[in-house]
Amino acid sequence: MSIDRETMRYLGWWLAFGVLMCLLPLVVGTGTLRILIFAHFLAMFAMSWDFLSGRTGYISFGHPFLIGIAGYTTAILSFRFGVPIYYSIPAAVVATIVGGTLFFLPALRIRGTYFALVTLAFMEILYQLTKVVAPKITGGTRGMSGLESIVSGAVNNYYMSFGIMFVIGVVLWLLIRTRLGVALSAIRMNEEAVRSTGHSTTKLKLFAFSVSAAVSGVGGAFYVHYIGSIAPRGMFEINFLFTILVAALLGGAETIIGPIMGAYFLTVLLEYLRPVMPGMERYLLYGGIALVLYVVRPAGIYSLIADAGRKVQEWRR
């Protein structure tokens, strides 16, 4: 891969971001770290969504489905069958890619608006199924708790979650800067025209989907081991989907950096509002913000900042 000067400059920014976040535990308390851990997981899910939906325009309402496959696979393997998590987590990622592809591949034939609905339906199916199919293994409605944790303590978990998120972020970001990224965006703008420039769009979409599923798989598997439990409610739920979606859209879809920013913004906002607004008011508030921002500024926070940056540069000139 050839790395041009602009890419190097941005990688510098990534590095600075990485160093800054690594120093953070020296300054802030464990309470804040625990909040940020959630932000990191949310960022992984949002990036996963962004890589598929933000790029190709195939809007997925079924990401909780992917995350759920990963979570349940590793939870069942490690909790019910005593498989060490070094094996159960990779197995979960593979299961997410394979299982997800099995369901989504037919759906990728469907254009536009229907795709979102079908993926939403998948999520509902899995929700129903986990409750009734083999409840001895899945734990039924109550799910499983007391899952093995990978590392203990807020600081360790902070570094782990940040590390995973950071690596995923950089890899995805580099990916979208290749010609592949350009081709995927082109699908969103005009799939027909992509075909008529000699591309198999099926292959491209399938690749985007597999990457997205892999990221969701990694995120989902680590997530359930971090929180130590899994249950159909909270996992296959529209509120969860909503959080992922809003994080990606708030930050600005199609950028990878946007979803990370969105995830931090959302989690931090949510936490700082907790004392003032203990319950659903917070959803009301950030749902409202998301809605207004989406209607007024579909490109998200990232574009606001990018614009501001451009203005500052112009002004300095």
Binding site: M1, S2, D4, L175, T178, R179, L180, V182, A183, S185, A186, M189, N190, E192, A193, V194, R195, S196, T197, G198, H199, S200, T201, K203, L204, F207
Partner: protein
């Protein structure tokens, strides 16, 4: 350019029926390598439908399409492009949120995931293609929404040139253009043909613009072929005059 015995493209007895309407009823024609064929006919004659079938965007009800001596009737669109057929659209179809350069980049990209990732883009080559269809260096960074109609048609040309086709299907390339732009696009077509030995099939209602470009013309009316020959022969043909002007 590879020399092939026989025609580059051959269309055999194509039929296309939509619902109960027979849009194309038994069209057969050939194009030789390096030839420029005009495809004309009144509104609704089925010209674009023929293009759609050659590009596999429509599946013919019956009939065969051969390219370079191979039966490609069942080959999907992107494979046909790889074999060397490309087309432009009546209404230009740019990737709207991408610069001219990136639009060309999509055309230049290989149909191979790993190469797409591993082989970096070549902005110089993109700019070269852009320049070859007449874009200024400034325009390479512009968005399609900032371009005039003539430039959008250039952009379609550029994206097609990027896939290095042997046969280019041009659908109403002169529509919506000013006289000056028509001149420029015509020049571009001639120039490309001289340099790369391209074969063209051109659909146009602007016969005046078409006349100097074509070696041969075929005429469609009501989904059928009604005449074939040199431009001058064809426009003097009684049946063609009737098709256009009415009886």
């Amino acid at each position: 350019m590879t020399a092939t015995a026989g025609p580059l493209l051959e269309v055999r007895d194509l039929h296309m029926t939509f619902g109960g309407i027979r849009a194309v009823q038994g069209i057969s024609f050939q194009v030789a390598e390096g030839e420029t064929l005009g495809l004309i006919g009144p509104n609704g004659a089925g010209k674009t439908t023929v293009f759609n079938m050659i590009m596999a965007e429509l599946k013919p009800t019956s009939g065969e399409i051969w390219f370079g001596g191979e039966n490609i009737t069942r080959v999907p669109t992107h494979e046909r492009v790889k074999r060397g057929i490309a087309r432009t659209y009546q209404v230009p179809q740019p990737f709207g949120e991408m610069s001219v350069g990136s639009n060309i980049r999509v055309g230049m990209a290989p149909d191979d995931i790993w190469k797409l990732i591993a082989v970096g883009a070549d902005p110089a080559a993109e700019a070269e293609i852009g320049r070859s269809v007449g874009f200024s260096d400034e325009q390479i960074d512009m968005l399609p929404s900032e371009l005039a109609m003539g430039d959008l048609r250039r952009l379609e040309m550029a994206r097609n040139v990027a896939v290095s086709p042997r046969l280019l299907l041009l659908d109403e390339v002169f529509a919506g253009l000013t006289l000056r732009e028509i001149g420029q696009i015509s020049e571009l077509l001639v120039e490309k043909k001289r340099k790369d030995g391209l074969t063209y099939i051109i659909v146009s209602h602007d016969l005046r613009a078409l006349a100097p470009l074509v070696d041969r013309v075929i005429v469609m009316s009501f989904g059928e072929l009604i005449a074939e020959g040199s431009f001058d022969e064809v426009v003097k043909d009684e049946a063609v005059r009737d098709a256009y002007l009415g009886q």
